[in-house]
Symmetry: C2
Subunit: 332 residues, 2 copies
């Protein structure tokens, strides 16, 4: 059955479509008796206006920011999202979130969809695809949509601003903390091979402890658990510097399963300071990333660029990561 339109209502009510539209928009120019008749017809015809057709020039557009994250299923990104959302709301912007789930083609796709949905600005936590330099970013530039990268190479796209943290420094501090505690046999459980953050953190670890053993674990609980079980089998070490807290927690679990105690036998440092880190049986020593602040700043920059008329210069903001010492590390 054909969908009922404003025209059907008008005809049935013996009235013009202009009048029906007036009723629809609650304009007070309609006589009560007419309004009632129209409303009754609308009801009996089960009429529903087609939202898309109502949108016209001059009708108030929603101000929206898009946010594409690599992995929505990760407390680290959750905090970034919350921070971005808070800041956006302050400026009366809404936040539309999409996740690429670590798949590059989905990242490209997400950007395309958000652009089609008419966002005013974009925050993206990009996957690093060497070689495939970013046709979707060029798209954004072409469409004049300001965008801000969270964790990304600044040289990547000239017009993009970047908000990031000093990973190298954070990892350096964490490693120094272990060295100062007398540890000499260090293992670094690194993250995904192509992660920008991971390589920066590895660099920090190596600057402090050039002899540290590097093992590529990954970014999840399971990755940490498996890495210790498989890759560190029979290997002697007294301290672990982990890519992030999840890996640290996974590693800790595996050590316990092997009958080793943290921090008595092995000290562990994480990275991120996710909420649960301080609630663990052995509260985790970790490098705190100001996650909300990153989201907040990224949104602030995007909105500022939306409002500014001239081409704003791209910025690079580097926030500090701070070592938080809890109970998972101990003097040797």
């Amino acid at each position: 059955m054909r969908r009922k339109t404003i025209k059907d209502v008008a005809q049935e009510a013996g009235v013009s479509i202009g009048t029906v539209s007036a009723v629809l928009n609650r304009r007070d120019s309609v006589r009560l008796v007419t309004r009632k008749r129209v409303l009754k017809i609308m009801d009996s015809l089960n009429y529903r206006p087609v939202e898309a057709a109502r949108r016209r020039l001059g009708s108030p557009r929603e101000k929206t920011l898009g946010l594409v994250v690599k992995e929505i299923h990760n407390p680290y990104f959750a905090d970034i999202i919350v921070g971005a959302q808070e800041e956006a709301r302050k400026h009366d912007f809404r936040l539309l979130v999409m996740s690429s789930e670590q798949v590059f083609s989905r990242e490209v796709d997400a950007v395309r969809v958000l652009v089609a949905k008419d966002i005013d600005g974009l925050i993206i936590n990009p996957l690093l695809e060497l070689g495939t330099l970013s046709s979707h970013f060029q798209d954004l530039e072409a469409n004049n949509i300001p965008f801000v990268m969270i964790e990304g190479l600044s040289g990547d796209v000239s017009t993009a601003s970047v908000v990031d943290i000093d990973n190298e420094r954070g990892a350096f501090d964490a490693t120094m903390h272990l060295l100062e505690a007398g540890h000499t046999e260090l293992v670094h459980l690194a993250g995904p091979k192509y992660s920008q953050h991971s390589s920066e953190r590895s660099a920090g670890v190596l600057r402090a402890a050039p002899g540290a053993r590097i093992v590529h674990a990954g970014a999840t609980l399971e990755d940490g658990f498996n890495a210790v079980r498989d890759q560190l089998k029979g290997c002697s070490f007294t301290a672990l510097v982990c890519y992030n807290d999840l890996v640290a927690i996974g590693a800790m679990r595996q050590l316990m399963d092997q009958g080793l105690l943290v921090p008595k036998d092995v000290s562990i440092v994480g990275f991120d300071d996710i909420d649960v880190a301080s609630y663990l049986g052995v509260p985790l020593t970790t490098v705190r990333i100001p996650k909300r602040e990153m989201g907040r700043q990224a949104a602030a920059i995007a909105i500022e660029q939306i409002h500014s008329t001239e081409d704003s210069k791209s910025r690079r903001i580097l926030l500090d990561a701070e070592l938080i010492v809890r109970s998972s590390t101990r003097k040797r």
Copy 2:
């Protein structure tokens, strides 16, 4: 500056708007040289088609599902999102996520924005606002947008389908597990007062143990931590049934701070089975919710309704929750 339209592109490229439209829609009737010229003009003019105007029968719109969650910063919802996204992608739908952050006005707002962005269907995890019966839901019905509620009263909105789990049963099972282990002094750390899930779970606890003490904690790590510290001060109990895993973890931390051991002195059961639950120092006994499956089913229903022409009847799907016994509970 006026927004560029297809007309501007056509004029600039010396071609009809029909041709530009053909280029836009990748119809292969356009000569290569023409296509290239048009694309170049589009680029130089920063042209973006207005999505709303494309909404016509048979036109190639982006197929999108909106998803509004109460709290993006919660591993429970994260899993639901991932499940919904997986299913959506199977059917070539994209998922736009917004979070109400537990604020009712934001939920209403999020729905409005998503509708304005022309989504095809909506999945919502609604806040329970008694009395304010859902003008935004009526809006959805008015716009003929199928929507599915995750965790919600089915009577709430007649046309909505609901995907939920059997909370009462899950909580009952968890409580029985403790009773069978010989516990008699039970405390139930309930969730937020207005939460549907929380009251269903409380009902399950009380059915198994009518004498259980009920304390309203909340839904976060901190809530669990504080509830045990403040509301259970000096209170004697040997087992805790918690609203969710986060509360359980928070409670466990506080007990440890008080020198109590889990499960030796106190047994604890959580709810949800978030990822980290099995990696804790004391792996958590909990009631597993098929979170991804919930998201998956919700998306599947929404998409089915989008595709079906006639008014589809609303459905109510109740998934089972399963008790997973780990180490945080013990015979007394």
